[in-house]
Protein backbone atom coordinates (compact mmCIF):
# COMPACT_ATOMS: atom_id res chain seq x y z
CA UNK A 1 0.00 0.00 0.00
CA UNK A 2 1.38 3.35 -1.02
CA UNK A 3 1.02 6.22 1.42
CA UNK A 4 1.53 8.77 -1.31
CA UNK A 5 1.22 8.07 -4.99
CA UNK A 6 1.59 10.00 -8.19
CA UNK A 7 -0.30 8.85 -11.26
CA UNK A 8 0.48 9.97 -14.82
CA UNK A 9 1.49 13.41 -13.66
CA UNK A 10 2.79 16.04 -16.08
CA UNK A 11 3.74 19.53 -15.08
CA UNK A 12 4.22 22.56 -17.30
CA UNK A 13 5.83 25.77 -16.05
CA UNK A 14 4.50 29.11 -17.37
CA UNK A 15 1.71 27.48 -19.34
CA UNK A 16 0.63 29.37 -22.48
CA UNK A 17 3.57 31.76 -22.51
CA UNK A 18 6.73 31.81 -24.63
CA UNK A 19 8.55 30.49 -21.54
CA UNK A 20 6.50 27.29 -21.34
CA UNK A 21 8.62 24.40 -20.10
CA UNK A 22 7.73 20.78 -19.50
CA UNK A 23 9.23 19.81 -16.14
CA UNK A 24 7.58 16.41 -15.66
CA UNK A 25 6.05 14.22 -18.31
CA UNK A 26 3.76 11.33 -17.43
CA UNK A 27 5.38 10.41 -14.13
CA UNK A 28 3.90 7.60 -12.03
CA UNK A 29 5.54 6.61 -8.76
CA UNK A 30 4.51 5.44 -5.32
CA UNK A 31 5.98 6.05 -1.89
CA UNK A 32 5.61 3.14 0.52
CA UNK A 33 4.16 3.80 3.96
CA UNK A 34 6.67 3.86 6.81
CA UNK A 35 9.68 3.71 4.48
CA UNK A 36 12.31 6.22 3.51
CA UNK A 37 12.29 6.73 -0.24
CA UNK A 38 15.16 8.51 -1.91
CA UNK A 39 14.70 10.70 -4.95
CA UNK A 40 17.83 11.26 -7.02
CA UNK A 41 18.61 12.92 -10.28
CA UNK A 42 20.55 15.79 -11.79
CA UNK A 43 19.70 19.45 -11.43
CA UNK A 44 16.76 20.04 -13.74
CA UNK A 45 15.62 16.42 -13.72
CA UNK A 46 12.31 17.39 -12.14
CA UNK A 47 12.98 16.41 -8.52
CA UNK A 48 12.04 19.73 -6.96
CA UNK A 49 8.95 20.07 -9.16
CA UNK A 50 7.83 16.64 -8.05
CA UNK A 51 8.39 17.61 -4.42
CA UNK A 52 6.24 20.74 -4.77
CA UNK A 53 3.44 18.64 -6.23
CA UNK A 54 3.40 16.30 -3.24
CA UNK A 55 1.91 18.77 -0.75
CA UNK A 56 -0.18 20.70 -3.20
CA UNK A 57 2.00 23.76 -3.71
CA UNK A 58 1.80 23.07 -7.43
CA UNK A 59 -1.23 21.60 -9.08
CA UNK A 60 -0.43 18.97 -11.71
CA UNK A 61 -1.10 20.08 -15.29
CA UNK A 62 -2.23 16.51 -15.88
CA UNK A 63 -2.63 13.47 -13.65
CA UNK A 64 -3.39 12.99 -9.97
CA UNK A 65 -1.57 12.97 -6.64
CA UNK A 66 -3.04 10.47 -4.19
CA UNK A 67 -2.62 10.61 -0.41
CA UNK A 68 -3.92 7.45 1.28
CA UNK A 69 -5.62 6.66 -2.00
CA UNK A 70 -7.48 9.97 -2.25
CA UNK A 71 -6.90 12.72 -4.78
CA UNK A 72 -5.43 15.67 -2.87
CA UNK A 73 -7.07 18.10 -5.32
CA UNK A 74 -10.55 16.66 -4.73
CA UNK A 75 -11.46 19.80 -2.78
CA UNK A 76 -9.07 22.55 -3.90
CA UNK A 77 -10.26 24.84 -1.08
CA UNK A 78 -9.04 22.38 1.52
CA UNK A 79 -5.55 22.01 0.15
CA UNK A 80 -4.19 23.58 3.34
CA UNK A 81 -5.25 20.40 5.16
CA UNK A 82 -3.08 18.35 2.82
CA UNK A 83 -0.14 20.59 3.66
CA UNK A 84 -0.60 19.72 7.33
CA UNK A 85 -0.43 16.03 6.44
CA UNK A 86 2.53 16.24 4.09
CA UNK A 87 5.33 18.26 5.70
CA UNK A 88 7.72 19.80 3.19
CA UNK A 89 11.21 21.03 3.93
CA UNK A 90 12.27 23.11 0.95
CA UNK A 91 15.75 23.47 -0.43
CA UNK A 92 17.87 25.81 1.73
CA UNK A 93 15.00 26.12 4.21
CA UNK A 94 16.88 28.60 6.41
CA UNK A 95 15.35 31.32 4.22
CA UNK A 96 11.99 30.71 5.85
CA UNK A 97 13.05 31.77 9.38
CA UNK A 98 11.38 34.98 10.48
CA UNK A 99 10.24 34.97 14.09
CA UNK A 100 11.84 36.68 17.07
CA UNK A 101 13.04 33.54 18.80
CA UNK A 102 13.96 30.05 17.71
CA UNK A 103 11.17 28.74 19.94
CA UNK A 104 8.54 30.92 18.28
CA UNK A 105 9.78 30.06 14.80
CA UNK A 106 9.63 26.31 15.37
CA UNK A 107 6.21 26.81 16.91
CA UNK A 108 4.89 28.65 13.84
CA UNK A 109 3.41 25.58 12.13
CA UNK A 110 1.65 24.14 15.22
CA UNK A 111 0.35 27.65 16.03
CA UNK A 112 -1.14 27.81 12.53
CA UNK A 113 -2.81 24.47 13.21
CA UNK A 114 -4.46 26.07 16.23
CA UNK A 115 -2.94 23.74 18.85
CA UNK A 116 -2.86 24.56 22.55
CA UNK A 117 0.25 26.00 24.22
CA UNK A 118 1.27 22.74 25.95
CA UNK A 119 1.04 20.73 22.74
CA UNK A 120 3.09 23.36 20.90
CA UNK A 121 5.69 23.25 23.66
CA UNK A 122 5.79 19.45 23.50
CA UNK A 123 6.25 19.45 19.71
CA UNK A 124 8.97 22.07 19.85
CA UNK A 125 10.79 20.02 22.49
CA UNK A 126 10.53 16.86 20.38
CA UNK A 127 11.65 18.60 17.19
CA UNK A 128 14.75 20.15 18.77
CA UNK A 129 15.68 16.81 20.34
CA UNK A 130 15.78 15.10 16.94
CA UNK A 131 17.47 17.94 15.08
CA UNK A 132 20.14 18.43 17.73
CA UNK A 133 19.33 22.02 18.70
CA UNK A 134 20.45 22.86 22.24
CA UNK A 135 17.86 24.19 24.73
CA UNK A 136 20.03 27.26 25.22
CA UNK A 137 19.35 28.35 21.63
CA UNK A 138 15.57 28.42 22.04
CA UNK A 139 15.38 32.02 23.23
CA UNK A 140 17.89 33.39 20.75
CA UNK A 141 16.97 35.12 17.52
CA UNK A 142 17.21 32.69 14.58
CA UNK A 143 19.30 35.32 12.78
CA UNK A 144 22.10 35.02 15.34
CA UNK A 145 22.66 31.34 14.55
CA UNK A 146 25.24 29.77 12.29
CA UNK A 147 24.23 28.41 8.89
CA UNK A 148 24.08 24.81 10.10
CA UNK A 149 22.04 25.72 13.17
CA UNK A 150 19.60 27.71 11.04
CA UNK A 151 19.12 24.68 8.84
CA UNK A 152 18.31 22.55 11.89
CA UNK A 153 15.81 25.11 13.17
CA UNK A 154 14.10 25.22 9.78
CA UNK A 155 13.82 21.43 9.63
CA UNK A 156 12.56 21.37 13.22
CA UNK A 157 9.95 23.96 12.19
CA UNK A 158 8.47 21.51 9.68
CA UNK A 159 8.79 18.48 11.99
CA UNK A 160 6.76 20.36 14.61
CA UNK A 161 3.80 20.29 12.25
CA UNK A 162 3.47 16.59 13.08
CA UNK A 163 2.70 15.47 9.54
CA UNK A 164 2.50 11.77 8.66
CA UNK A 165 4.63 12.28 5.57
CA UNK A 166 7.86 14.23 5.60
CA UNK A 167 9.34 15.42 2.31
CA UNK A 168 12.84 16.86 2.45
CA UNK A 169 14.44 18.57 -0.54
CA UNK A 170 18.21 18.30 -0.09
CA UNK A 171 18.09 18.76 3.69
CA UNK A 172 21.85 18.36 4.01
CA UNK A 173 23.03 20.39 0.99
CA UNK A 174 26.04 22.56 1.67
CA UNK A 175 26.77 21.17 5.14
CA UNK A 176 30.01 19.60 6.29
CA UNK A 177 30.07 15.76 6.43
CA UNK A 178 29.50 15.63 10.15
CA UNK A 179 26.56 18.04 10.14
CA UNK A 180 25.18 16.07 7.23
CA UNK A 181 25.25 12.79 9.11
CA UNK A 182 23.81 14.31 12.27
CA UNK A 183 20.87 15.87 10.48
CA UNK A 184 20.08 12.78 8.42
CA UNK A 185 20.46 10.50 11.48
CA UNK A 186 18.05 12.75 13.38
CA UNK A 187 15.50 12.68 10.58
CA UNK A 188 15.71 8.88 10.37
CA UNK A 189 15.33 8.47 14.15
CA UNK A 190 12.35 10.84 14.18
CA UNK A 191 10.71 8.99 11.29
CA UNK A 192 11.25 5.57 12.93
CA UNK A 193 9.80 6.76 16.24
CA UNK A 194 6.67 8.26 14.71
CA UNK A 195 6.25 5.76 11.87
CA UNK A 196 6.56 8.44 9.19
CA UNK A 197 6.76 8.02 5.47
CA UNK A 198 9.82 9.98 4.34
CA UNK A 199 10.81 11.21 0.91
CA UNK A 200 14.40 12.35 0.77
CA UNK A 201 15.71 14.28 -2.22
CA UNK A 202 19.44 14.24 -2.64
CA UNK A 203 22.06 13.94 -5.25
CA UNK A 204 24.46 12.23 -2.95
CA UNK A 205 24.42 8.53 -3.80
CA UNK A 206 26.18 7.79 -0.52
CA UNK A 207 23.32 9.32 1.47
CA UNK A 208 20.85 7.30 -0.57
CA UNK A 209 22.71 4.07 0.11
CA UNK A 210 22.96 4.82 3.82
CA UNK A 211 19.52 6.16 4.66
CA UNK A 212 16.94 5.00 2.14
CA UNK A 213 14.88 1.83 1.79
CA UNK A 214 13.62 2.60 -1.70
CA UNK A 215 15.00 4.74 -4.43
CA UNK A 216 13.60 6.60 -7.42
CA UNK A 217 15.93 7.93 -10.09
CA UNK A 218 14.71 10.86 -12.16
CA UNK A 219 16.10 11.91 -15.51
CA UNK A 220 14.82 14.66 -17.81
CA UNK A 221 11.38 14.86 -16.23
CA UNK A 222 10.78 11.11 -16.24
CA UNK A 223 11.27 8.22 -13.84
CA UNK A 224 14.43 6.53 -15.02
CA UNK A 225 14.61 3.71 -12.45
CA UNK A 226 12.79 2.78 -9.28
CA UNK A 227 12.87 -0.01 -6.74
CA UNK A 228 14.60 -0.91 -3.51
CA UNK A 229 18.00 0.65 -2.96
CA UNK A 230 19.53 -2.81 -3.57
CA UNK A 231 17.85 -3.15 -6.93
CA UNK A 232 18.65 0.33 -8.15
CA UNK A 233 22.24 0.42 -6.99
CA UNK A 234 23.01 -3.02 -8.35
CA UNK A 235 22.68 -1.56 -11.81
CA UNK A 236 25.58 0.85 -11.51
CA UNK A 237 26.05 0.88 -15.29
CA UNK A 238 22.58 2.32 -15.85
CA UNK A 239 23.18 4.99 -13.21
CA UNK A 240 26.51 5.94 -14.73
CA UNK A 241 24.86 6.12 -18.16
CA UNK A 242 22.94 9.22 -17.07
CA UNK A 243 26.05 10.63 -15.41
CA UNK A 244 25.24 9.98 -11.77
CA UNK A 245 28.15 9.56 -9.41
CA UNK A 246 27.78 6.08 -7.98
CA UNK A 247 29.80 5.13 -4.88
CA UNK A 248 33.37 4.23 -5.72
CA UNK A 249 32.97 0.59 -4.69
CA UNK A 250 29.89 0.23 -6.90
CA UNK A 251 31.97 1.39 -9.84
CA UNK A 252 34.57 -1.26 -9.06
CA UNK A 253 31.85 -3.91 -8.84
CA UNK A 254 30.39 -2.75 -12.16
CA UNK A 255 33.82 -2.94 -13.80
CA UNK A 256 34.34 -6.45 -12.43
CA UNK A 257 30.98 -7.59 -13.79
CA UNK A 258 31.88 -6.16 -17.15
CA UNK A 259 35.06 -8.25 -17.11
CA UNK A 260 32.94 -11.35 -16.69
CA UNK A 261 32.76 -11.88 -12.92
CA UNK A 262 29.08 -12.59 -12.10
CA UNK A 263 28.93 -10.71 -8.78
CA UNK A 264 25.55 -10.72 -7.01
CA UNK A 265 24.04 -9.14 -3.91
CA UNK A 266 24.52 -5.70 -2.36
CA UNK A 267 26.98 -4.12 -4.76
CA UNK A 268 27.24 -0.58 -3.44
CA UNK A 269 28.80 -0.93 0.01
CA UNK A 270 32.33 -2.09 0.73
CA UNK A 271 31.04 -4.97 2.87
CA UNK A 272 28.53 -6.06 0.23
CA UNK A 273 31.08 -6.18 -2.58
CA UNK A 274 33.59 -7.96 -0.31
CA UNK A 275 31.00 -10.64 0.51
CA UNK A 276 30.06 -10.99 -3.14
CA UNK A 277 33.69 -11.52 -4.14
CA UNK A 278 34.19 -14.03 -1.33
CA UNK A 279 31.04 -15.91 -2.35
CA UNK A 280 32.23 -16.07 -5.91
CA UNK A 281 35.61 -17.47 -4.81
CA UNK A 282 33.94 -20.09 -2.65
CA UNK A 283 31.83 -21.21 -5.58
CA UNK A 284 35.11 -21.66 -7.40
CA UNK A 285 34.32 -19.12 -10.07
CA UNK A 286 37.70 -17.46 -9.74
Amino acid sequence: MYKLEIKNVSYLYSKNTPFEKLALSDVSVGFEAGKITGLIGHTGSGKSTLVNLLNGLYRPTEGTVLLDGRDIWEKPKEIAKIRAEVGLVMQYPEYQLFDETVRADIGFAPRNLGLCAEEIERRVAEAIAFTGIGEELLDKSPFELSGGQKRRVAIAGVMAMGAGVLVLDEPAAGLDPRGRREILDGIRAYAKKNGLTVILVSHSMEDMALYCDNCIVMNRGRVYMSGTVDEVFSDAEALMDIGLNVPMVARIAAALRKKGFPLTGTLYTVEGVRDAILRLRKEGGV
Binding site: S14, N16, T17, P18, N52, N55, L57, A80, R83, A84, G87, L88, M90, P93, Y95, Q96, L97, F98, D99, F108, A109, N112, L113, F143, G157, V158, M161
Partner: protein, 286 residues
Protein backbone atom coordinates in the same frame (compact mmCIF):
# COMPACT_ATOMS: atom_id res chain seq x y z
CA UNK B 1 2.07 31.83 -8.90
CA UNK B 2 3.10 35.43 -8.71
CA UNK B 3 5.88 34.88 -11.22
CA UNK B 4 3.13 34.77 -13.86
CA UNK B 5 2.96 38.57 -13.81
CA UNK B 6 3.82 39.75 -17.31
CA UNK B 7 3.56 43.52 -17.03
CA UNK B 8 7.12 44.73 -17.34
CA UNK B 9 8.59 41.50 -18.64
CA UNK B 10 10.98 41.16 -21.53
CA UNK B 11 10.20 38.60 -24.26
CA UNK B 12 13.32 37.89 -26.28
CA UNK B 13 12.84 37.89 -30.05
CA UNK B 14 14.17 39.05 -33.39
CA UNK B 15 11.47 41.40 -34.69
CA UNK B 16 12.15 44.92 -35.96
CA UNK B 17 11.02 46.30 -32.60
CA UNK B 18 13.52 44.08 -30.83
CA UNK B 19 16.35 45.21 -33.09
CA UNK B 20 15.79 48.96 -32.77
CA UNK B 21 18.16 51.07 -30.70
CA UNK B 22 16.71 51.49 -27.19
CA UNK B 23 16.98 55.27 -27.55
CA UNK B 24 14.74 55.13 -30.61
CA UNK B 25 12.18 53.16 -28.65
CA UNK B 26 12.34 55.53 -25.68
CA UNK B 27 11.87 58.59 -27.89
CA UNK B 28 9.19 56.75 -29.86
CA UNK B 29 7.38 55.89 -26.63
CA UNK B 30 7.45 59.56 -25.59
CA UNK B 31 6.02 60.61 -28.96
CA UNK B 32 3.37 57.89 -28.69
CA UNK B 33 2.36 58.98 -25.18
CA UNK B 34 2.15 62.62 -26.26
CA UNK B 35 -0.02 61.50 -29.18
CA UNK B 36 -2.34 59.65 -26.79
CA UNK B 37 -2.89 62.79 -24.77
CA UNK B 38 -3.28 64.99 -27.83
CA UNK B 39 -6.00 62.76 -29.25
CA UNK B 40 -9.35 64.49 -28.84
CA UNK B 41 -11.73 62.86 -31.32
CA UNK B 42 -12.89 59.31 -32.10
CA UNK B 43 -11.07 59.51 -35.43
CA UNK B 44 -7.80 60.27 -33.62
CA UNK B 45 -8.41 57.35 -31.29
CA UNK B 46 -9.05 55.08 -34.27
CA UNK B 47 -5.69 56.17 -35.65
CA UNK B 48 -4.01 55.42 -32.30
CA UNK B 49 -5.61 51.99 -32.05
CA UNK B 50 -4.57 51.15 -35.60
CA UNK B 51 -1.02 52.22 -34.88
CA UNK B 52 -0.93 50.08 -31.69
CA UNK B 53 -2.19 47.08 -33.64
CA UNK B 54 0.59 47.61 -36.18
CA UNK B 55 3.10 47.69 -33.30
CA UNK B 56 1.71 44.40 -31.96
CA UNK B 57 1.95 42.80 -35.41
CA UNK B 58 5.51 44.01 -35.92
CA UNK B 59 6.64 42.80 -32.49
CA UNK B 60 5.23 39.28 -33.07
CA UNK B 61 4.24 39.03 -29.42
CA UNK B 62 1.16 36.90 -28.86
CA UNK B 63 -2.10 38.64 -28.03
CA UNK B 64 -2.71 36.45 -24.96
CA UNK B 65 0.52 37.76 -23.42
CA UNK B 66 -0.60 41.34 -24.04
CA UNK B 67 -4.05 40.70 -22.58
CA UNK B 68 -2.46 39.21 -19.49
CA UNK B 69 -0.42 42.41 -19.13
CA UNK B 70 -3.63 44.45 -18.96
CA UNK B 71 -5.27 42.20 -16.38
CA UNK B 72 -3.69 43.79 -13.27
CA UNK B 73 -5.13 47.24 -14.09
CA UNK B 74 -8.65 46.07 -14.92
CA UNK B 75 -10.03 46.86 -11.47
CA UNK B 76 -8.57 50.36 -11.54
CA UNK B 77 -10.11 50.85 -14.98
CA UNK B 78 -13.53 49.68 -13.81
CA UNK B 79 -13.33 51.90 -10.73
CA UNK B 80 -12.34 55.06 -12.61
CA UNK B 81 -14.91 54.35 -15.33
CA UNK B 82 -17.63 54.16 -12.72
CA UNK B 83 -16.42 57.39 -11.14
CA UNK B 84 -16.47 59.06 -14.55
CA UNK B 85 -19.94 57.79 -15.34
CA UNK B 86 -21.48 58.87 -12.04
CA UNK B 87 -19.58 62.07 -11.32
CA UNK B 88 -19.49 63.80 -14.69
CA UNK B 89 -22.05 66.59 -15.10
CA UNK B 90 -23.24 67.11 -18.66
CA UNK B 91 -24.88 70.03 -20.37
CA UNK B 92 -28.15 68.48 -21.54
CA UNK B 93 -30.76 66.29 -19.88
CA UNK B 94 -29.39 63.25 -17.95
CA UNK B 95 -29.84 59.88 -19.70
CA UNK B 96 -30.73 58.21 -16.41
CA UNK B 97 -32.02 60.00 -13.35
CA UNK B 98 -32.72 57.84 -10.33
CA UNK B 99 -32.76 59.10 -6.72
CA UNK B 100 -29.40 60.92 -6.39
CA UNK B 101 -27.82 59.11 -9.34
CA UNK B 102 -27.70 61.04 -12.58
CA UNK B 103 -25.90 59.67 -15.61
CA UNK B 104 -25.08 62.00 -18.49
CA UNK B 105 -24.01 61.18 -22.04
CA UNK B 106 -20.74 63.01 -21.43
CA UNK B 107 -19.88 60.74 -18.50
CA UNK B 108 -20.26 57.56 -20.54
CA UNK B 109 -18.22 58.95 -23.43
CA UNK B 110 -15.52 60.09 -21.08
CA UNK B 111 -15.39 56.69 -19.35
CA UNK B 112 -15.06 54.85 -22.66
CA UNK B 113 -12.24 57.01 -23.97
CA UNK B 114 -10.42 57.16 -20.66
CA UNK B 115 -10.37 53.35 -20.58
CA UNK B 116 -9.20 53.20 -24.18
CA UNK B 117 -6.52 55.76 -23.42
CA UNK B 118 -5.12 53.78 -20.47
CA UNK B 119 -5.18 50.49 -22.38
CA UNK B 120 -3.41 52.05 -25.37
CA UNK B 121 -0.90 53.63 -23.01
CA UNK B 122 -0.07 50.30 -21.39
CA UNK B 123 -0.07 48.21 -24.56
CA UNK B 124 1.81 50.78 -26.65
CA UNK B 125 4.54 51.51 -24.15
CA UNK B 126 5.00 47.86 -23.18
CA UNK B 127 5.21 46.89 -26.87
CA UNK B 128 7.88 49.50 -27.44
CA UNK B 129 9.79 49.18 -24.21
CA UNK B 130 9.34 46.39 -21.72
CA UNK B 131 8.29 43.48 -23.95
CA UNK B 132 10.84 44.09 -26.69
CA UNK B 133 13.76 45.73 -24.89
CA UNK B 134 15.90 43.97 -22.32
CA UNK B 135 16.14 45.89 -19.04
CA UNK B 136 19.87 46.36 -19.50
CA UNK B 137 19.62 47.94 -22.93
CA UNK B 138 16.73 50.07 -21.69
CA UNK B 139 18.85 51.61 -18.95
CA UNK B 140 21.76 51.94 -21.40
CA UNK B 141 19.46 53.93 -23.64
CA UNK B 142 18.22 56.06 -20.76
CA UNK B 143 21.73 56.78 -19.61
CA UNK B 144 22.77 57.80 -23.09
CA UNK B 145 19.71 60.04 -23.56
CA UNK B 146 20.20 61.70 -20.18
CA UNK B 147 23.98 62.05 -20.46
CA UNK B 148 23.81 65.78 -21.37
CA UNK B 149 22.50 66.34 -17.83
CA UNK B 150 25.79 65.04 -16.43
CA UNK B 151 27.36 68.36 -17.49
CA UNK B 152 25.17 70.28 -15.08
CA UNK B 153 26.11 67.92 -12.26
CA UNK B 154 23.33 65.34 -12.36
CA UNK B 155 24.80 61.92 -11.43
CA UNK B 156 23.30 60.18 -14.46
CA UNK B 157 25.60 57.20 -14.26
CA UNK B 158 24.74 56.49 -10.63
CA UNK B 159 21.04 56.66 -11.39
CA UNK B 160 21.32 54.36 -14.37
CA UNK B 161 23.41 51.89 -12.37
CA UNK B 162 20.82 51.96 -9.61
CA UNK B 163 18.09 51.34 -12.13
CA UNK B 164 19.98 48.52 -13.82
CA UNK B 165 20.45 46.82 -10.48
CA UNK B 166 16.83 47.37 -9.45
CA UNK B 167 15.55 45.95 -12.74
CA UNK B 168 18.00 43.09 -12.58
CA UNK B 169 16.75 42.08 -9.14
CA UNK B 170 13.01 42.31 -9.72
CA UNK B 171 12.74 38.77 -11.12
CA UNK B 172 15.10 37.48 -8.44
CA UNK B 173 13.01 38.97 -5.66
CA UNK B 174 9.77 37.77 -7.23
CA UNK B 175 11.20 34.26 -7.36
CA UNK B 176 12.40 34.58 -3.79
CA UNK B 177 9.00 35.79 -2.59
CA UNK B 178 7.44 32.83 -4.31
CA UNK B 179 9.84 30.48 -2.59
CA UNK B 180 9.31 31.99 0.85
CA UNK B 181 5.53 32.02 0.40
CA UNK B 182 5.62 28.35 -0.53
CA UNK B 183 7.78 27.54 2.49
CA UNK B 184 5.39 29.34 4.85
CA UNK B 185 2.35 27.83 3.17
CA UNK B 186 3.96 24.46 3.79
CA UNK B 187 4.01 25.39 7.46
CA UNK B 188 0.31 26.10 7.42
CA UNK B 189 0.41 29.87 6.88
CA UNK B 190 -2.75 31.28 5.37
CA UNK B 191 -2.54 34.48 3.31
CA UNK B 192 -5.93 34.44 1.67
CA UNK B 193 -8.49 34.48 4.46
CA UNK B 194 -9.33 36.35 7.63
CA UNK B 195 -9.80 40.02 8.41
CA UNK B 196 -7.62 42.75 6.92
CA UNK B 197 -5.53 42.99 10.08
CA UNK B 198 -5.02 39.23 10.10
CA UNK B 199 -3.98 39.25 6.48
CA UNK B 200 -1.55 42.09 7.06
CA UNK B 201 -0.09 40.17 9.98
CA UNK B 202 0.19 37.08 7.79
CA UNK B 203 2.64 39.01 5.62
CA UNK B 204 5.24 39.23 8.38
CA UNK B 205 6.53 35.67 7.80
CA UNK B 206 7.14 36.66 4.15
CA UNK B 207 8.48 40.16 4.57
CA UNK B 208 11.05 39.46 7.27
CA UNK B 209 12.91 36.72 5.34
CA UNK B 210 12.57 38.74 2.13
CA UNK B 211 14.19 41.82 3.66
CA UNK B 212 16.90 39.76 5.29
CA UNK B 213 17.82 38.14 2.01
CA UNK B 214 17.53 41.38 0.02
CA UNK B 215 20.01 43.08 2.36
CA UNK B 216 22.29 40.09 2.18
CA UNK B 217 22.17 40.13 -1.61
CA UNK B 218 22.86 43.86 -1.69
CA UNK B 219 25.91 43.43 0.46
CA UNK B 220 27.20 40.49 -1.58
CA UNK B 221 26.70 42.44 -4.79
CA UNK B 222 28.53 45.47 -3.40
CA UNK B 223 31.48 43.31 -2.37
CA UNK B 224 31.52 41.55 -5.75
CA UNK B 225 31.49 44.91 -7.57
CA UNK B 226 34.30 46.26 -5.43
CA UNK B 227 36.31 43.10 -6.06
CA UNK B 228 36.10 43.95 -9.75
CA UNK B 229 37.29 47.50 -9.04
CA UNK B 230 33.98 49.23 -9.68
CA UNK B 231 34.19 52.95 -8.91
CA UNK B 232 31.27 55.32 -9.17
CA UNK B 233 33.38 58.35 -9.99
CA UNK B 234 35.43 56.73 -12.76
CA UNK B 235 34.36 56.82 -16.35
CA UNK B 236 33.57 53.38 -17.75
CA UNK B 237 33.71 52.20 -21.32
CA UNK B 238 30.97 50.07 -22.84
CA UNK B 239 31.24 46.63 -24.38
CA UNK B 240 28.13 47.09 -26.49
CA UNK B 241 28.04 50.64 -27.89
CA UNK B 242 24.71 52.03 -28.97
CA UNK B 243 24.57 53.13 -32.60
CA UNK B 244 21.78 54.78 -34.56
CA UNK B 245 21.08 53.05 -37.86
CA UNK B 246 18.94 53.94 -40.85
CA UNK B 247 16.01 51.99 -39.43
CA UNK B 248 16.16 54.06 -36.24
CA UNK B 249 15.92 57.35 -38.12
CA UNK B 250 13.14 55.92 -40.23
CA UNK B 251 11.20 54.72 -37.18
CA UNK B 252 11.50 58.09 -35.46
CA UNK B 253 10.32 59.77 -38.65
CA UNK B 254 7.26 57.50 -38.76
CA UNK B 255 6.49 58.24 -35.11
CA UNK B 256 6.83 62.00 -35.63
CA UNK B 257 4.57 61.75 -38.67
CA UNK B 258 2.07 59.80 -36.62
CA UNK B 259 2.06 62.37 -33.82
CA UNK B 260 1.51 65.17 -36.32
CA UNK B 261 -1.30 63.13 -37.88
CA UNK B 262 -3.04 62.63 -34.54
CA UNK B 263 -2.80 66.33 -33.69
CA UNK B 264 -4.11 67.41 -37.09
CA UNK B 265 -6.95 64.88 -37.04
CA UNK B 266 -7.94 66.03 -33.54
CA UNK B 267 -8.32 69.60 -34.72
CA UNK B 268 -10.01 68.80 -37.99
CA UNK B 269 -13.53 70.26 -38.30
CA UNK B 270 -16.29 67.85 -39.34
CA UNK B 271 -17.06 70.00 -42.36
CA UNK B 272 -13.79 68.85 -43.91
CA UNK B 273 -15.20 65.31 -44.09
CA UNK B 274 -18.43 66.50 -45.65
CA UNK B 275 -20.29 67.37 -42.45
CA UNK B 276 -22.52 64.27 -42.49
CA UNK B 277 -23.64 62.54 -39.28
CA UNK B 278 -20.76 60.02 -39.40
CA UNK B 279 -18.27 62.81 -40.01
CA UNK B 280 -19.62 64.76 -37.06
CA UNK B 281 -19.44 61.63 -34.92
CA UNK B 282 -15.81 60.98 -35.90
CA UNK B 283 -14.82 64.54 -35.17
CA UNK B 284 -16.81 64.85 -31.94
CA UNK B 285 -14.59 66.62 -29.37
CA UNK B 286 -14.36 64.59 -26.19
Amino acid sequence: MISDITLGQFFPGFSLLHKLDPRTKLLGAILFIVAIFMAKTPLAFALLTLFTLVLILVSRISVSVILRGIRPVIYILIFTSLLNIFMTKGAGEPLVAFWIVKIYKEGIIRAIFMTLRVILLIVGSSMLLTYTTSPISLTDGLESLLSPLARIGVPVHIFSMMMTIALRFIPTLVEETDKIMNAQKSRGADFASGSLVRRAKALIPILVPLFVSAFKRAEELAVAMECRCYRVDKKRTKLAKLTFRARDFLTLFVFALFLTGVILVSRMPASLLGGSFVARLLCYRI
